[in-house]
Amino acid sequence: MSNPRIIATTASAALIAAVGAGAAVYAVEIATSTNDTSAVSGTEAQQAPALQQGQDDSTTVYRAPSDDDDEADDDDSGQQINPAPADTQWQQNSTTPKGPANTSKSS
């Protein structure tokens, strides 16, 4: 594997940490654009707590491009797919209606 090229960054409050052993990736915690302005006016009786819009609050990863296409791909990179929590359960004969709101289909 080629040596990763580190991108210099001047991001303030940067938390730089190498992630993924051997990966040419460096994580930088950055100030993110947070849209929290979805409040809709209404009467007190009708008022529901405003929902925040989604936040780009995941750690942004700066990464240097690598042209090493011959590098053997493997999935032993440190980033793993996390399983569902232990309280996940499979049901027999569930009475919950199956509908588009709660059904996973391919798309």
Partner: protein
């Protein structure tokens, strides 16, 4: 319980919350869903010439100014590539177009079958003049469709949960639940006579990938990054439960691509999955065989 839905991207997007079913709440949920869908479309649609993704694709080989929002979606897709050793690769835009998936159409335009392998390691992200810059290898194109809907499901679920409501976000089959009490969701194998599996989640994702939809005479939309061609797979659908919708989607897509090796790969990772074909059903880890049968 209240649900709002939106039909776009040739699928159904549904956002449900355990909240009072008031007109006010419906308005707020619908606005959130609509705004986020429009935002993602403007960031990452391959079919909009004015999207940030189209700009990056049109300037492959050059650094391009993008927004943090685009970086967030792209980072999720690169994470999927890293988690799967490049099986789920966001740089397959040229390959998927070559395979015939050129528009949101039932009969995609057939184009030259110039299959191209993935080059996700060639994607760069660095600070920009305003927000960030991205570069993709010359001759490649991004397609973030594999992970983007699941990423949106996670994003919407977190947005609603932060406001104190239990939530289920279903973005065309990529589902994320964040709830205190168990929330029942269904994994449909999309095979005649094979029942859907009912699963209760509290904080997890469920996704199903398959070759039955977005399919045409020359192939389907799930590209094997190792060959640049539609994956040769026996599986009609693969459903996975994982910690998030994005992770479930990533694993499900990898399971389709890996074909016969998929169940072993899933088992090695300790993931709960069901592989369904017209002649066979295989489940892994905690996914009970009796439910799938």
């Amino acid at each position: 319980m209240i649900s709002v839905s939106l039909q776009t991207w040739k699928t159904d997007l549904v956002l449900s919350a355990r909240a009072p079913a008031t007109p006010r709440m419906e308005t707020v949920l619908r606005q959130l869903l609509t705004d986020e869908v429009q935002r993602l479309d403007a960031l990452a649609s391959r079919f909009r010439p004015d999207s940030e993704l189209s700009t990056v694709n049109s300037r492959a080989g050059h650094w391009v100014e993008v927004s943090w929002g685009f970086v967030a979606v792209l980072s999720a897709c690169l994470s999927a590539a890293e988690r799967t050793g490049g099986l789920v690769d966001p740089t397959l835009g040229t390959a998927i177009k070559a395979a015939g998936y050129d528009e949101w159409a039932d009969q995609p335009t057939l184009t030259a079958a110039s299959a191209q392998r993935g080059h996700w390691r060639g994607v760069g992200i660095r600070p920009g003049r305003h927000e960030a810059q991205v570069v993709i290898p010359a001759g490649t194109a991004l397609d973030l469709g594999s992970v983007a809907k699941a990423w949106l499901a996670d994003r919407l679920a977190h947005a609603v949960a932060r406001s104190g409501y239990e939530v289920c976000a279903n973005m065309g089959g990529d589902i994320r639940v964040i709830a205190q009490a168990p929330w029942t969701v269904w994994a449909d194998p999309e095979l005649p006579g094979v029942p859907a599996a009912a699963i209760t989640l509290t904080d997890a994702g469920l996704a199903t990938s398959g070759t039955g939809r977005r399919r045409w005479s020359t192939g389907h939309h799930i590209i094997d990054a190792r060959t640049g061609r539609p994956a040769a797979t026996p599986w009609h659908t693969v459903s996975v439960v994982a910690a998030s919708a994005a992770e479930a989607n990533t694993a499900a897509t990898a399971g389709v691509i890996l074909g016969g090796e998929g169940p072993g790969w899933m088992t090695a990772k300790g993931l709960d999955a069901r592989f369904s074909s017209p002649t066979d059903t295989i489940t892994t880890h905690r996914w009970p065989q009796e439910v799938a049968a």
